[in-house]
Amino acid sequence: MALPEPSASGRFGEFGGRYVPETLVPACQELEEAFRAAWADPAFRAELDDLLHHYAGRPSPLTDCRRLSEELGLRVLLKREDLNHTGSHKINNVLGQALLARRMGKTRLVAETGAGQHGVATATAAALLGMECMVYMGEVDMGRQALNVFRMRLLGAEVVPATSGSRTLKDAVNEAMRDWVATVEDSHYCLGSVMGPHPYPWMVRELHTVIGDEARAQCSEVLDGGVPDVVTACVGGGSNAIGIFSGFADTAAELVGVEPAGGAAVGRGVPGVVHGMKSYLMQDEFGQVQEAHSISAGLDYPGVGPEHSHLAAIGRARYEQVTDAEVIDAFQLLSRTEGIIPALEPAHALAWVSRDRAALAGRTVLVNLSGRGDKDVAQMMEILG
């Protein structure tokens, strides 16, 4: 195991913990025990692996980019999470949590969603396992990701707008937590990233290590037993990033997370506590959480998973920021050079690679292509005209 377990209190260094209303403490404790038992149970693992293979389409391929590499003057490898069922890495986590919820006797899944990818994945798992599903989504995001709202409803989920605050992902998390406080007896909160109270950051990471494990083996094949010089991924809450980092944490590979400039918790935040965790957080001098601003609904979040704060604090990973304009360019660049339309989220990682190509010249960079761009095409059509 390349990344260690958090401490008994759910901490990665000084970050993490379980800052939840008292009502939820027993539920978090039960979830931790249930996950630990399931994760050690070969039957559970076999059932999950079977779903990941026959339902989600894993393993996802590794694509060695010819034309993009030539254009940038470095070698780009893409881990193709965009090719998973439902179109992003989110399905890895959701299938695991849905199986766990069923094992715990829960009949209803509650989720927050930003871009809608986690909501779609949760609605999908709920349909597959015959569970009820309630998804909270910021009102602003429901507008810019209308296609995913329709998909969720088609899959049988109820989608409820979060109308308070910035009306984006942060507020959707608040609403999902309020729902869970009231329904904890029969509902499982299917959190969509490596954030929230312990055990979520650890559990969601474990469910995404499949990305890093596969990529490590695939890179080894392509690179004659070697590893890439750099492994990079976009960071909202940080689940796709931690998933791919986990496969390379024990190598010499540089780990680079890419945040939107308008939602750079690691880059611009200071330690704070919200949504059950202590982590870097964009906040004002009084501790009020600030609103993030990003072209990408999936990264429009003022916080970050606690393990990223820890990796940044100990210097094992570094975090770069890119602007919306750089992301728009990268979105088009990959489409044009490789015939792959990326989601706006992983376009952040590509945008950093493209911007810093001089510094990266001649090196091998593994990018986690966390999702496909179908959901963003309408928004980009408006922007590009």
């Binding site: 401490s7 209190s9 379980r18 403490v25 027993p26 605050g165 309020r178 330690p271 919200v274 009084f286």
Partner: protein
């Protein structure tokens, strides 16, 4: 593996041996045969919020909870969310609320209710000192459960600020004694599974949690969350020592009833409790 320095810091110190100003006042009121009434007022909501505090004190509150508005109040329903948002938009900060409180002189003990990041950001010692300095007796931090309360509790204990802890219907039996042991001021019994807000009827779970808590502590047990009317206050106070009423009061304030309307409502609940 020895525990890290971080884990050491997390150790929750034993509660102060003696009750502070809030618990002393509540115990005395209870001893006089009175049921306890603690209304909640959002600090910084409206220009006259300090008048609302004084008015509900005069109308028969035994203590008052003052909300310091936070951007992401996950334990609160629509009414207190709205009051918090409006107060924040009007420029309320922890500093401005505490400053104004210093001048309120309500004549009853005050407890601040806010979310942990407000205390964490200011720094535990500084926040605890600011509370003491503003004449606030206690703090209620609904997203700081017992296991995470160590660092705050050390600072609060040192500053003489009482830390009220919440106890919820979901707690197994072996958890309640640990919560009541560490709580000072009072034990906040969460009446139902859910966030703050008015409910048409008293939840059965309110009576159950109050009974379970009364069986393990002689500290004052007040039920909050979902206690909305004088009748409900009376009903639950048959078991509990009293109630915290937030949304039902703040809804009236949001509807523009002002200090007079707030006082009318608190007086009505007071009279109903006194009539039992």
């Amino acid at each position: 593996m020895s525990p890290s320095p971080v884990e050491d810091e997390l150790t929750v110190p034993p509660a102060p041996a003696k009750p502070g100003a809030l618990e002393t006042a509540l115990r005395a009121a209870r001893a006089s045969g009175r049921k306890l009434l603690v209304p909640y007022v959002t600090g910084g909501y409206g220009d006259d919020w300090a008048d609302v505090v004084r008015a509900v004190a005069d109308a028969g509150a035994d203590a008052i909870e003052i909300g310091i508005p936070f951007s992401d109040p996950v334990m609160d329903g629509p009414v207190i969310q709205e009051a918090s948002e409006v107060a924040l938009r009007a420029g309320a900060t922890p500093v401005s609320v505490l400053d104004e409180l210093r001048r309120v002189d309500a004549g009853v003990p005050l407890a601040v209710m806010t979310y942990y990041n407000i205390a964490f950001r200011m720094g535990h010692e500084r926040f605890a000192a600011s509370l003491a300095d503003s004449g606030v007796a206690a703090a209620i931090l609904p997203d700081l459960p017992l296991e995470e309360a160590g660092p705050w509790a050390r600072a609060a204990d040192a500053a003489g600020v009482e830390t009220v802890l919440l106890a919820a219907p979901t707690a197994p039996d072996d958890r309640l004694p640990r919560i009541v042991e560490r709580a000072r001021g009072f034990v906040y019994a969460v009446g139902l599974l859910g966030v703050t807000g008015e409910r048409a009827a008293l939840a059965e779970s309110s009576l159950v949690i109050a009974r379970r808590l009364k069986a393990v502590t002689d500290k004052p047990v007040l039920v909050g969350v979902g206690v909305s009317t004088a009748d409900q206050a009376v009903e639950v106070s048959a078991v509990a020592d009293g109630v915290v009423i937030g949304s039902a009061l703040m809804r009236r304030v949001l509807e523009g009833e002002g200090p007079a309307g707030a006082a009318r409502f608190v007086a009505e609940v007071r009279a109903a409790l006194d009539a039992t």
